[in-house]
């Protein structure tokens, strides 16, 4: 009986990815590209994705920007407020490498140094299709228990 419920819950994780986004010092380019994902042209609601305004309701964290020193603690805080299981998607080049800000003394330069990132979306800024694909992939990872937050929970 509990097997059926576990199966139901894991399918639900794939079908219903709720997204929260955090801007860690981004130039707003990536954030502007997130908006069309939920507009008539791309309509993320077809795969069940909904933008949530509270991190407590979210499953997937979208992080954009090179993680400046001032936003580092906030990013950590928001990540901890998301109830597990959760997935993290880094948007664009900034959270991956620091992009044009690389070497600046005011940035951490990599989201990986602050929180465990599951997926990177390449581009500066990435296309909305790529962002939607990442959300879908993250939802599949949540279903199979492949995200890093789920794997760490298994090791404990």
């Amino acid at each position: 009986m509990s097997g059926i419920f576990d199966r139901l819950i894991s399918i639900s994780r794939r079908r219903s990815p709720w997204v929260y986004r955090v801007n860690a010092g981004s130039c707003n380019g990536c954030d502007i590209e997130v908006a069309p994902c939920f507009s008539p042209r791309y309509d993320g609601e077809q795969i069940g994705a909904v933008l949530q305004s509270s991190p407590k309701h979210a499953d997937i964290l979208l992080i954009s920007g090179p993680v400046t020193l001032r936003t580092r603690d906030m990013v950590k805080d928001v990540y901890q407020q998301i109830p597990s299981p959760k997935a993290v998607i880094a948007l664009g080049s900034c959270p991956a490498s620091g992009n044009v800000f690389s070497g600046s003394p005011t940035i951490v330069g990599s989201a990986e140094a602050v929180i465990p990132v599951d997926l990177y979306v390449p581009g500066c800024p990435p296309r909305p299709q790529a962002i939607l694909e990442a959300i879908q992939t993250a939802a599949r990872m949540l279903e199979k228990g492949e995200t890093r937050s789920q794997k760490e929970a298994q090791h404990d």
Binding site: I9, R13, S16, P40, E45, Q46, S54, K56, D59
Partner: protein, 303 residues
């Protein structure tokens, strides 16, 4: 006697209670999202979306915010679901609910008030400023939308000289029924917290409103309450129209048709309007709500 208890349990848990109430509620929520999406030129979610949105949440870890009482945090949503399920069991569906007695209208009104009151307490209990703003807005709105809601039900009770919901659903459809349905519909907009009265849960504006700190299983129970509330209130409006039809199947058809019309109208209004400020919503209900109440009383007592 045991037979009655079994039938009562059936009413509470299966029809028209928890199981069908939740399934119909989820279906109506999908219809709402689909209609709004179509009006915005989008495809909208697949029909199973509200079902999976609900089942995902119990599988998540529940974080209790610091400073909140854990007992209160869990007990409020449970209480909210129980009261709506009991209210749903009283709805005079086609075929009739076995739980029907003189005065069940009063019990129904009390039980339908519970989710709003619990929302107010839940907002303050989680100690988030955004939830507290949402709570105070919700408390203000209950004073506004209950005016058409209560006067429609009281006018019908005066007309049919009964405080029993079954008397409403077996009475013939008159002008008073239509007026009462319109007044109930006016209240339904604010009870369902859709635009233009999405004031307590205003997304973006006050983060996520009352439920901002809720997550996991308690949030799932609040979502379930919302679905059950929708099917109970739409069911109440639809049950006013099933009186004159003899056969149970035609009754069921009319019931579903009226429910569909109510939900489509609800979402036409919601897709076509923007959010009001709380003082404007209050003024709306104390002018047009009073007008609707007056019309219901006049049609109920004069014709």
């Amino acid at each position: 006697m045991t037979n009655w208890w079994l039938q009562a349990l059936f009413s509470i848990l299966i029809w028209p209670g928890l199981l069908t109430g939740a399934l119909i509620g989820w279906f109506l929520l999908w219809v709402s999202r689909k209609i709004v999406a179509q009006f915005q030129g989008r495809q909208g979610p697949p029909f199973y979306q509200p079902f999976f949105d609900f089942w995902k949440l119990p599988g998540k870890k529940t974080i209790i915010p610091s400073g909140a009482n854990p007992f209160l945090f869990y007990a409020l949503p449970v209480l909210s679901v129980i009261s709506v399920v009991l209210a749903l069991a009283l709805v005079p569906v086609p075929g009739g609910s076995v739980i029907s007695f003189d005065g069940d209208l009063v019990l129904f009104i009390y039980l339908m008030e519970m989710p709003a009151l619990i929302d107010v307490i839940a907002g303050f209990a989680t100690r988030s400023v955004y939830a507290q703003v949402g709570s105070s807005r919700e408390a203000l709105l209950t004073l506004a939308y209950n005016l058409p809601f209560l006067s429609a039900l009281i006018a019908l009770a005066l007309k049919w000289k009964s405080f029993q919901l079954a008397a409403f659903s077996s009475a013939p459809v008159t002008l008073a029924t239509v007026a009462a349905a319109l007044a109930l519909f006016l209240a339904l907009l604010a009870q369902m917290k859709v635009n233009p009265f999405s004031i307590p849960n205003a997304e973006q504006e006050i983060v996520a409103g009352i439920h901002v700190e809720y997550n996991g299983l308690p949030l799932a129970l609040f979502e379930l309450t919302h679905a059950l509330e929708l099917s109970a209130l739409v069911g109440l409006i639809a049950s006013l129209f099933i009186g004159p039809f003899g056969s149970a199947w035609i009754k069921l058809l009319v019931y579903l048709a009226v429910a569909a019309v109510a939900v489509i109208l609800l979402n036409l209004v919601s897709a076509g309007t923007a959010r009001l400020k709380v003082q404007h919503a209050f003024r709306f209900y104390w002018t047009w709500g009073v007008a609707a109440a007056a019309v219901v009383f006049i049609t109920a007592l004069a014709f």
